[in-house]
């Protein structure tokens, strides 16, 4: 009657281990944590709560340079390129401390997290020597050119193209939702280099583009907060040198996929709303059991997500490939980050827009920023599709 229904007991064995082994941080990491906290107490102790709430969207080039001086950008890069050859977990500790404190990391975030490692792996020697030390000093802002007007979740359908000439490449097309393009020194762009493939994932390549190149125009797009944060970037016969092709022509999709996997489970995937949690803890009524219970659940979720995110970092540092678990961390992290402003509304009925309390100021920012948490870096629906694939749904 019910074809294929498992009406008998069909559990044979534990199929897959979903438990992320917790990661213990050694004395080096904890010493570093102490250093970072002291540095933050010195440099940003007077940073207003409303600004802290911006998390990694807040930026201050001066702060990034100071961080670079301390050796806390490009921590994983080789010393010959200005890096510091620190461990993945040491880098993790620095990142989580910066985010928990609401430090303005936006001016170097993309370069440190994505562009630096990409260039180290695929760029020419001369580009590495020129750019990596500047990334490590916190001087360079990068943006990532992926989405286009007609290609959002369906990223592989992009049409912006690079055509090879005797001198290098000529780029035409446009990129959309490019965060920070109006400040960026460079873009890493995914472009079509070959046409007519059966698979739309083929024929894509990554490029390093100097944003001062003639033929590039940038139009900031106000987001719902009224901030100019993301942009439309139009390329009209923009000419870049031959060695701006990063990696192998046609390998762009594989390179981008690997890059995205690595950035899915970092601490920025669950800490975006932490300032609002801190405000709620101070505003809560210690005699109100409802406040206690609701905030207790938030604490449990946050503590669990930290174990998950840190645990995946530990797996990555041991050379494992926890792609499925990393995607799960991002999905769960965004759920928590977006629940926080709902909790704040539920408990405090915050009058958003008012400036009479830091709770109201932080809530006003976070509730408006929250929709982006499950859009940036790939929508929730695409992410869950990737998770489902990892579950071996045939």
């Amino acid at each position: 009657m019910h074809g294929g229904a498992c009406v008998t007991f069909c559990l044979k064995k534990l199929m897959q281990n979903f438990a992320i082994l917790p990661c213990t941080l050694d004395a080096n990491c904890e010493a570093l944590r102490t250093e970072v906290r002291a540095f933050l107490a010195e440099t940003i102790s007077d940073r207003p709560a409303r600004d802290r709430a911006q998390s990694w969207s807040g930026s201050d080039p001066e702060f990034s340079r100071k961080l670079g001086e301390r050796g806390w950008i490009g921590m994983r890069l080789p010393k010959q390129y200005g890096g510091h050859e620190r461990s993945a977990l040491e880098r993790y500790v620095v990142l989580e401390e910066l985010l928990a404190a609401g430090a303005p990391v936006g001016a170097h975030w993309v370069a440190d997290r994505q562009s630096g490692p990409l260039l180290l792996r695929y760029a020419s020697e001369s580009i590495k020597q020129e750019l990596l030390p500047r990334i490590a000093r916190g001087e360079l802002r990068f943006c990532i050119g992926m989405s286009e007007p007609d290609s959002g979740s369906d990223l592989a359908s992009i049409r912006s193209r690079a055509e090879q000439t005797d001198e290098g490449w000529v780029i035409n097309g446009s990129k959309l939702w490019t965060s920070g393009a109006h400040y960026a020194h460079y873009m890493i762009a995914l472009l079509r280099t070959e046409h007519g493939h059966d698979s739309k994932h083929a024929g894509l390549s990554q490029f390093l583009i100097d944003m001062n190149t003639p033929g590039i125009s940038i139009r900031p797009i106000k987001n719902l907060l009224g901030e100019a944060h993301f942009n439309e970037v139009v390329f009209e016969n923009a000419k870049v040198p031959a060695d701006c092709l990063i990696g192998q022509p046609g390998d762009g999709w594989a390179q981008v996929t690997a890059e995205l996997t690595l950035e899915r489970s970092g601490p920025e995937r669950y800490l975006s709303s932490i300032q609002l949690i801190l405000e709620m803890l101070d505003a809560a009524d210690p005699d109100d059991a409802h406040h206690e219970q609701v905030l207790g659940r938030v604490v449990a979720d946050l503590a669990t997500l930290r174990q998950m995110s840190l645990g995946v970092a530990g797996m990555l540092s041991r050379g494992e490939n926890p792609a499925l678990l990393a995607s799960i961390v991002k999905d769960q992290g965004a759920l928590l980050e977006q629940r926080i402003p709902e909790v704040a509304h539920d408990l405090f009925g915050v009058q958003v827009g008012q400036t009479d309390s830091t709770l109201a100021e932080v809530m006003s920012y976070t509730v408006q920023a929250a929709p982006s948490f499950s859009l940036r870096g790939g929508t929730r629906e695409i992410l869950r599709g990737i998770i489902a694939k990892g579950l071996e749904l045939r």
Binding site: A5, D301, D331, E381, G385
Partner: protein
Amino acid sequence: MSDIKDMIGESVNRMFSQTVDRRLLDAAESGDWQRSLWDMVEESGYGDVLVGEGTDDLEGKWADAFPVFRALGFYRVPLPLAETIIARGLLVRVGLPPCPGPLTVIQQQTGDKLNLQIVDGCLLLNGSAVAVPWAAHASNVIVAGSVGDQKVIGVIRGDATGVSLQPGFNIAKEPRDGMSFNAAACDAFAVCGDRLPNEPALLYGALARAAMIAGAAESVLQESIQYANDRVQFGRPIGKFQAIQQSLAVLAGEVTSAQTAVLAACESAGVHPRWFDVAVAKVRSGQAAGLAANISHQVHGAIGFTYEHSLHYATRRMWSWRAEFGADSEWATQLGRQAIQRGSSGFWSDLTQGTSATR
């Protein structure tokens, strides 16, 4: 990760995958005591995973116990093994001998109806306890409570004079019995001093149940994936539909969250698990229990709502276990109270302390 833990995990999975089937589960639900399975379990030593070679060998046992608790949930094992494990764990930690099982535990809490007093060097129990797991089958009951401001652990036989039983069940038909005590004398007791944390049976029981929920949640994920791959509608397996895929991805997130919270609490335990880690694990797994049951039933459709299907053996357990040894809402209230008292300035440093090797 210890080799011992891997070995225990492998052997416990092998044993339960070969023995726990629906015939056994149905027999247990109709009230039959599963003697031969219990004898196998005791022979294999799973009841002693929190017991060391001596009182100096009690560090890190919770990490070894994790795969056993998880398997109890994953295979829906109808035995008081979790209760026996934590009962013996409590006994050896106060220097009492681990007694033969099956065992169960009672945690006296402020405001409940159980009273402990020491009379002529003997620990006497008066009053009652509700929903004591597997009490009807327990040879001995381990009672954790207080006499004045002294914490004590007592051992009393299930059939001791002055002890009476009112049979009851949770909705998974696991025995959860009322117990009454009328000047009932313990056979042995120990004053804990600082050898045990506050409300130790509650702490141990909560982590055990959290791990069992994590295991049960993983089992319903596995069943749901299998069903989504097998069941064909509109000409293809329902797992091909995005709506089903999105639901299963959420379910996988719940399973991962619950398992990780529990594993973290077990791995970070010394002689005892840390209160904060247990609270987090019980809250997170309790939340996962409801969602995992909802999603797995939705994916299974009507067939999963039948008694004939095996899904309910897990979902009825999860609905029961999330309320036992402190419901997740109660643990959350305590977690929240602590966090509010500490305020924003202590929050992050408290949170990061747990993963430091030097703490």
